[in-house]
């Protein structure tokens, strides 16, 4: 029934329960906390270098740290106040890393930022101008990978993009941040899409949305009708539909070659959150200092979507959502499939934090791993056509060469395999180890060559 109408990627994928508890909750703004912790690594690539010192007074939107090198991003202060120290703090990586810690004092904004709610439809900036603004605003991919957006906007020489795909899939269970954003900021998104199209010099843009967000599909389709070149593509509900390569395959039928980038098939993918941030940066001159975070969990009293300043500790969000549920066993930053479990509730929200999920104690434990029964279910769900059952022992027995030959590096860490395995094998745990070790070997090899 849906086959003809809705597209999806052809191989693999799973259907975890959706649990979109907060889908009907409008975005609520949370006021700035008393103290924020701003890690210097909120993006893929080199840490930003602080341009403030201990004691510097800052106003909201002011540059705190400058991106360093090709792949890096600027960081701005989300609050006004005083830098009290630059020191190590535990962030979502699970380790202590350098962060700027600011005590909040008032809410004074940088005067260049346009804070009015009005829509700015006029696209005046040139292509270069847009990219520069995006870079200045420190925008990174908000779909999870936090790859600096300006790098993606500059299509490498010799390659040509002919299509922009906006990722509004949000295939992770529980998360609703993108969904709410699409419903509430549709007009801004359209302008954001135009801006990115201009930057990339492409004529076509497709917004990919999963079937289960029919209100967003309807709303954006209506808006897109008036926008030449922009269309909305409804997609079947299947995890990991939002994975870049899967999305491209679903929308265009093109397959990003192993080890290649989306531009190799002429496509660039951006998340809706990123698109909105681009709009704000270019049209409103507002750097990336806040983001939408879904705070959710089945025992939580009020699952919500919050607009949160970067640097706000997770504990503050918990308070706003009605307090830590009694039975909490695990707290996850991000969605349940790809998110990271944290051991400390003082960890700050960063540019890549799309959600905070509370899992009850009885759901936070893993079943005992049984021997692999070779059911090949992990193979059939792997969207990348890998053989997780094989990769796991290869990593376990440290056979890195073989793991590389079996394409361990292609794994997108979607977790479909571990989810499916009837024997509860910790497939992805080991595959990650394999990726790490093989990655190191490859880098070493490149160095010696």
């Amino acid at each position: 029934m849906q086959n003809t109408k809705y597209r999806t990627f052809p191989r693999g994928g799973i259907h975890p329960p959706e649990w979109k508890l907060s889908a009907g909750e409008p975005i609520k703004e949370i006021s700035a906390p008393a103290r924020v912790i701003i890690p210097l690594t909120q993006h893929l690539g080199a840490p930003a270098v602080p341009v403030v010192e201990r004691g510097t007074a800052v106003v909201t939107g002011q540059l705190l740290a400058q991106g360093q090198g090709f792949v890096s991003a600027n960081i701005h202060t989300p609050v006004s106040g005083k830098v009290i120290k630059i020191d190590a703090a535990i962030d979502a990586s699970g380790y202590k890393r350098t962060a700027i810690i600011i005590d909040v004092d008032g809410d004074e904004w940088d005067s260049t930022i346009d804070r009015s709610p009005s829509l700015n439809k006029n696209i005046r900036d040139s292509r270069e101008e847009i990219i520069r603004k995006v870079q200045d605003a420190g925008i990174v991919g908000m779909g999870g990978a936090t790859f600096p957006t300006h790098v993606k906007l500059r299509v490498p020489k010799g390659k040509k993009a002919d299509m922009l795909i906006i990722n509004g899939v949000e295939c992770e269970p529980f998360l609703t941040a993108d969904h709410r954003l699409m419903l509430e900021k549709g007009n801004e998104l359209m302008i954001g899409v135009r801006l990115i199209m201009k930057a990339l010099e492409v004529k076509n843009a497709v917004i990919g949305i999963e079937e289960n967000k029919d209100d967003a599909i309807e709303y954006l389709s209506g808006l897109a009708e008036k926008q030449p070149g922009i269309s909305v593509q409804t997609l079947k509900v299947k995890y990991p539909q939002g994975g870049e390569k899967q999305l491209i395959k679903a929308v265009t039928g093109r397959e990003v070659p192993g080890g290649g980038l989306p531009v190799d098939v002429g496509v660039v993918v951006h998340n809706v959150g990123t698109t909105f941030a681009v709009y704000e940066a270019v049209q409103k001159n507002k750097p990336l200092i806040e983001r939408i975070v879904t705070v959710t969990g089945r025992s939580l009293s009020t699952p919500s979507n919050f607009l949160v300043r970067i640097g706000t500790p997770v504990s503050k969000l918990i308070d706003a959502a009605g307090g830590l549920p009694e039975d909490t066993g695990k707290v996850v930053l991000g969605g349940p499939m790809m998110g990271k479990a944290i051991n400390n509730l003082d960890i700050p929200v960063t540019k890549g934090t799309s959600g905070v999920l509370f899992l009850p104690a009885d759901e936070s434990h893993r079943e005992k791993a049984d021997p692999c029964i070779r059911c090949s279910k992990c193979i059939s769900v792997c969207p990348m056509g890998l053989e997780p059952y094989l990769l796991m022992p290869l990593a376990e027995y440290k056979l890195w060469d073989k793991a590389e030959k079996e394409k361990v590096m292609d794994c997108i860490e979607c977790g479909s395999c571990s989810y499916t395995c009837p024997a509860h094998r910790p497939l992805l745990d080991y595959i990650r180890l394999g990726k790490m070790q093989v990655g190191q070997l490859i880098r070493k090899r490149k160095q010696t060559v």
């Binding site: 021997p371 692999c372 094989l390 022992p393 290869l394 027995y397």
Partner: protein, 190 residues
Amino acid sequence: MEYIIIFISAIFVNNIVLAKFLGICPFIGVSSRLETSVGMTGAVAFVMVIATIVTYLIQYYILKPLSIGFMQTITFILVIAALVQLVEIILKKVSPALYQALGIYLPLITTNCAVLGVAILTIQNGYNLPEAAVFSFATAIGFGLALVLLSSMRESLDLVDIPKGMKGIPVAFIIAGILSMAFMGFAGLV
């Protein structure tokens, strides 16, 4: 037709290892890796065919006319040993690549019952020269088939947890046993 029957018989029905119990030492010994077992198969096939032909000639042109059949064992093994060494020496010089691939198995072949066994069986079965060649080649293929199957299975078992006492040789024998059991299904094919 005759040749096809000899061929199928030697590979499936009367597999040299699984049914005739010859060449078991290398079958168990070099079957821990698939790659080596392929190399071994190549080396065995090479030596087996040459040795069978040479011993055939010796049998029918020397031993039989002189009616000293009892000398079969000693002359055959001498010829095989010399042949193996000859092949090794020549290969080392002429094709170092091939030597790298097969050379390490060559010394093992001298003490491989399969080679001498096939030479003697050829005589016992009363084959003529072309039949002898087909028979020895097919036997080598049969040896290779069993070896490759066993080694691929052993290699895949490297990634699982085998009980301590069974690891290595015992498990190889169990596999060989079940394989031999399965091959009994081919009985009566020819």
